[in-house]
């Protein structure tokens, strides 16, 4: 864009101001978290005053370090168990629902579409409370606890899977399957051998998003928890964030962050590779747009 174009495009005209503003925003959004990560390597007990570098709170301290305190390791384990189980259940259900809703015409399809969208506009505390009462007073199985938390996370994730998949399904259109069937493929083969590979990047994206949703989730986990064994990392931060006397809490949060960023990087990388294999350019915004 030419300098003149730049000037015109910008109603405030001082486009330097916008650039500086944006970079200040980015620093503000990210640096506090970087500082919190830094404090997990603090030599002293403080989470606010720097007392020198050490691995005390990661491995050094025999009772309180991230890898030595059973409460901390158990919260990481619980977060990962919930995330993996939610991925495994919500993604297949969501993919089938997305395909079904895109193509099922007739009685009930409109209400099903509407029903699918409702959780997206429901505050999480409302849904979590409702599921809690349902599991406690109505259904004999599952109970609150790990299974209850998984059930809650799955309910919360299904609409996101559908939203991610739907764009791709409409983008691909019916031509490929029709071609496959014209060439003699039975419908189920056309679905399995044509549609599933074509949708693979979106399915990958859905896995990644479900993982991130589950790992970050606090409200549902909190309302459906029973005891310390069902405490996730966000719950740990909530319960001891104000009072925790040492930086091992920052370390636990950091470890969880590293694990989830690695999983998400893997997801985005996998999505790109799958998309490139099909000669389609992977859109970074596919991943970004999931909460819209």
């Amino acid at each position: 864009m030419s300098a003149v174009g730049n000037l015109l495009a910008n109603p405030w005209r001082k486009h330097r101001f916008l650039a500086v503003y944006t970079w200040l925003y980015i620093v503000w959004a990210i640096v506090p978290v970087v500082i919190a990560i830094g404090f997990s390597f603090n030599a002293g007990r403080s989470r606010s005053v720097w007392q020198g570098f050490s691995m005390e709170w990661w491995t050094g301290n025999p009772d309180l370090a991230v890898f030595n305190d059973p409460v901390l390791t158990s919260s990481i384990r619980q977060s990962l168990i919930l995330a993996v189980a939610t991925m495994a259940i919500a993604t297949p259900i969501g993919v089938a629902l997305a395909l079904g809703l895109a193509r099922w015409r007739g009685r009930g399809s409109g209400s099903a579409n509407f029903l699918m969208l409702l959780p997206l506009v429901t505050p999480e505390i409302v849904l979590a409370t409702g599921i809690f009462f349902t599991l406690v007073f109505l259904y004999p199985f599952p109970n609150p606890g790990t299974l209850g938390q998984i059930v809650g996370h799955v309910t919360w994730s299904i609409p996101y899977v559908v939203v991610v998949l739907r764009g791709r399904i409409f983008g691909v259109g019916p031509d490929l399957e029709e071609a496959a069937m014209d060439l003699g493929a039975p419908p189920l083969d056309a679905l399995r051998r044509v549609m599933v590979p074509v949708l693979a990047p979106a399915i990958f994206a859905a896995f990644t998003i479900v993982f991130a949703l589950s790992v970050d989730d606090f409200v549902t986990s909190q309302f459906l928890a029973t005891d310390l064994n069902t405490q996730t990392v966000p719950m740990l931060i909530y319960s001891s964030g104000r009072t925790a006397p040492n930086p091992a809490l920052n370390g636990t949060a950091t470890l969880m962050l590293v694990i989830s960023l690695a999983a998400i990087g893997l997801g985005i990388g996998g999505m790109r590779i799958l998309a490139r294999r099909q000669g389609v350019r992977a859109e970074g915004s596919d991943m970004a747009s999931f909460r819209i």
């Binding site: 864009m1 506090p32 919190a36 079904g100 029903l115 299904i158 931060i237 964030g241 970004a288 819209i292």
Partner: protein, 317 residues
């Protein structure tokens, strides 16, 4: 166009696949959402209409609407509406906090979204990735970061004292409205920027150039072209951050030591539901959640109507 295509797709594929195939494919998801979304709503209302089980002394849900007990609703509405009601104070405070936070989110987020939408090339990808990064960091971890910074001896106080603005450390975390509002802005603004960016990205430079050619100042270009054309993005962004803010209880809890002076309606719900099961506590909690859900769905309805209206206006113009 997209709609016509999807209908055509539905029709041709409905004929090729076995009868009822797609309905069958959708059914696990639909059944799941009925069992764990629709039924929970009913359970919520039943709990709100529940009465005390004499054996345990705790409220239990009443599944038959004919026998719903109105005591919990009565209590909640009394506390919401009477001048010195407990929830009235909390709810008005929640409205103030959410309103202030949404306005500040717009002020903080709009210029950022606008700037990125005008960027091209490699820098655009980098900035977008950095804007998306907070999505992947747990909300609670982002709040934890500020607990460390805002402590008595934290970096913020030391910087302000070093600059001579403060003489003594300010107790940011001891129930200060400004801290909670700041926390809400920090927590939710990334979710506002993306829909705003999506809307502004569709705004073509030629429109701005046309306004310029017709003699509009940069200010009136912004007010009369950019702002109206990004209205749907603004509405979507506000809806996305406002709904969860109304149920938020962790921001206020972490950033104000759980003080009641900054409690939001989410905190009232959380304490009714989780502190005791004795007496009407959980039924009252359920009633309060039901009222909140109703309030939020009115807001959503308003959002849908006003988006539809501004889309219609844009089509006519």
């Amino acid at each position: 166009m997209a709609r016509g295509r999807s209908a055509a797709e539905g029709n041709s594929l409905t004929l090729l696949y076995p009868r009822g195939f797609w309905k069958w494919a959708a059914s696990p998801g639909v059944l799941w959402l009925i069992a764990l979304f629709v039924v929970p709503f009913y359970a919520l209302v039943s709990m709100a209409g529940g009465s005390i089980d004499p054996a345990t002394g705790s409220a239990v849900p009443q599944w038959n609407p004919a026998y719903w007990d109105r005591a919990s609703y009565h209590y909640v509405f009394e506390q919401l509406l009477s001048p010195d009601g407990v929830y009235r104070v909390v709810f008005l405070r929640t409205l103030r906090y959410v309103f202030a936070a949404v306005v500040l989110c717009l002020v903080a987020g709009y210029p950022v979204a606008y700037y990125v939408s005008r960027l091209r090339g490699r820098l655009r990808g980098v900035v977008l990735a950095l804007l998306v990064l907070p999505f992947w960091i747990s909300y609670l971890m982002r709040m934890l970061a500020w607990v460390g910074l805002l402590n008595e001896e934290g970096l913020v106080n030391r910087l302000l004292m070093g600059a001579g603005i403060l003489q003594d450390p300010y107790p940011w975390l001891e129930g200060k409205s400004i801290t909670v509002i700041f926390g809400l802005v920090y927590g939710y603004v990334p979710f506002l920027i993306l829909p705003l960016f999506a809307a502004l990205d569709r705004l073509q430079n030629s429109y701005l150039e046309a306004a310029w050619d017709l003699g509009a100042s940069s200010f009136s270009t912004f007010v009369r072209v950019t702002l109206p054309l990004s209205k749907n993005g603004i509405l979507a962004g506000i809806a996305i951050i406002m709904l969860p803010m109304f149920g938020d209880f962790y921001t206020a809890y972490l950033l104000s030591s759980g003080r009641s002076s900054t409690a939001m309606i989410g905190n009232s719900i959380q304490s009714l539901l989780q502190e005791t099961t004795f007496g009407y506590a959980q039924a009252r909690g359920a009633a309060l959640v039901t009222v909140l859900a109703l309030f939020v769905s009115l807001l959503t309805l308003y959002y849908i109507v006003s988006t539809a209206r501004s889309t219609r206006e844009a089509a006519r113009a």
